[in-house]
Symmetry: C2
Subunit: 254 residues, 2 copies
């Protein structure tokens, strides 16, 4: 029975800033559901304002209910604002792009970005999915998830090769997670995009597991050991402040 709700909600994941509108056939193909099931899901989502259908193209886009719900969330539990308010200072101090990530369901999404005031910096797009295996944010969060969530994650990871340096198998992944758990910091170079160093620290929720991360995306050609040390130290500090503010709990080993 509940499979149906999961099916309907899972359709929402196919919308992105790059693909804001999708037709019935495309959604059926992407989801692997038959057309009749996909249409029934879309009709229920539409009745409740989660999607709208364009009259002319017949394509679907995100509706207004999420906007309304996001306002309610923001007023009652403004985690994304708490993260955002620390990013400007962070970007200024290290001179690189700072961004914050939170778990939305089972995947991390970027909730806030602050770029440094200089000509060359790494562009991070809002609401782009951050791949678990290829980004420092993904690794920092995954390394601090409950065991069963890590297992589930490893089973569904497809290890898309964004660059020649992207981790490509479960063993690599486990290694990255272990390193991150030991140091409290995830650091990767050119695993998602060439010439970019990603550094991230986890934000913890009430259970002592990660609910998000703060990260710095740096231009690799100007990275130095000193700057890397400073970035790690700033991220540790800010992630602990945010963890405290949202009522989170650091795990015992950190």
């Amino acid at each position: 029975m509940m499979g149906t709700v999961d099916k309907a909600l899972s359709l929402m994941r196919f919308f992105s800033p790059q693909i804001p509108e999708l037709g019935l056939s495309e959604l059926a193909r992407k989801s692997g559901f038959d057309k009749a099931t996909t249409l029934r899901c879309l009709n229920a989502l539409e009745r409740n304002g989660f999607v709208e259908q364009d009259v002319l193209s017949r394509k679907y886009r995100v509706g207004l209910s999420p906007f309304h719900l996001a306002q309610i969330r923001e007023q009652s539990f403004p985690v994304e604002s708490i993260i955002a308010e620390h990013l400007d200072a962070l970007a200024t101090r290290v001179g690189e792009t700072a961004h914050g990530t939170l778990m939305a369901g089972r995947d991390p999404v970027t909730v806030a970005i602050s770029s440094p005031n200089r000509a060359l910096f790494v562009h991070v797009s809002p609401s782009t999915a951050l791949p678990w295996h290829a980004t420092a944010s993904g690794i920092a969060i995954a390394a601090h998830l409950p065991d069963e969530a890590q297992k589930e994650l490893l089973d569904r990871l497809e290890f898309a090769p964004y660059t020649p340096k992207t981790p490509s198998n479960k063993e690599d992944m486990r290694t990255e997670w272990n390193v991150c758990r030991e140091s409290g910091i995830a650091c990767v170079q050119s695993t998602f995009e060439d010439d970019v160093v990603g550094t991230a620290a986890p934000i913890f929720g009430q259970t002592g597991h990660a609910v998000g991360s703060v990260a710095i995306a740096s231009v690799a050609l100007r990275m130095t050991p000193d700057l890397q040390t400073q970035i790690a130290s700033e991220l540790r500090r800010v992630s602990q402040i945010i963890t405290n503010k949202i009522g989170g709990v650091l795990p015992v080993n950190l």
Copy 2:
């Protein structure tokens, strides 16, 4: 089968700025579903990031998926920004509170508010549900919905009496809608809150039916016939601009 998706999505409606967290029993009671069904719905919503459960209180709140989806919507189809950008000038010109409303699923929600720069004005809260029968926004939209949507609406309206002047039955409602269709403007006094005059004009979508409204909430004691005429005229103008900008179509009689 699809009843289940509707049930799950309908649970999201019970969250509001006033009631941001709800327990399982409360949600079961409000929805009329049994506890087992309610819990299965909540689990599916939680797996997909639409709700989160507080570890200590065990209550549910809105999760982060709506925030993420609202960002995607805003980037691809920024209707709420289009409305918002017209409200400041509107509030300044008439000296009263301007607000914009859009349909999210089957109910209207406030998406933008601009208050005039003066000491006394009507406070409109974001993401508060606007009752269909008691507000100018509700009437302006409902008057321009398809026939079947109007019938469905009349059947579910409970005509909560906010003030002694709130319309109280289907016949009153039909009368208000007819007046609004003839004039293009809905105007009510003290039907939702005492001492407040609400005036609203519909925003039309691609089908020529209303998808939202722009409205002015005025302090009744300073309303004059001239000001009322100015407000109606400004609202007609702004609602037509917004309708054009979002690719909407005015119905033939307007």
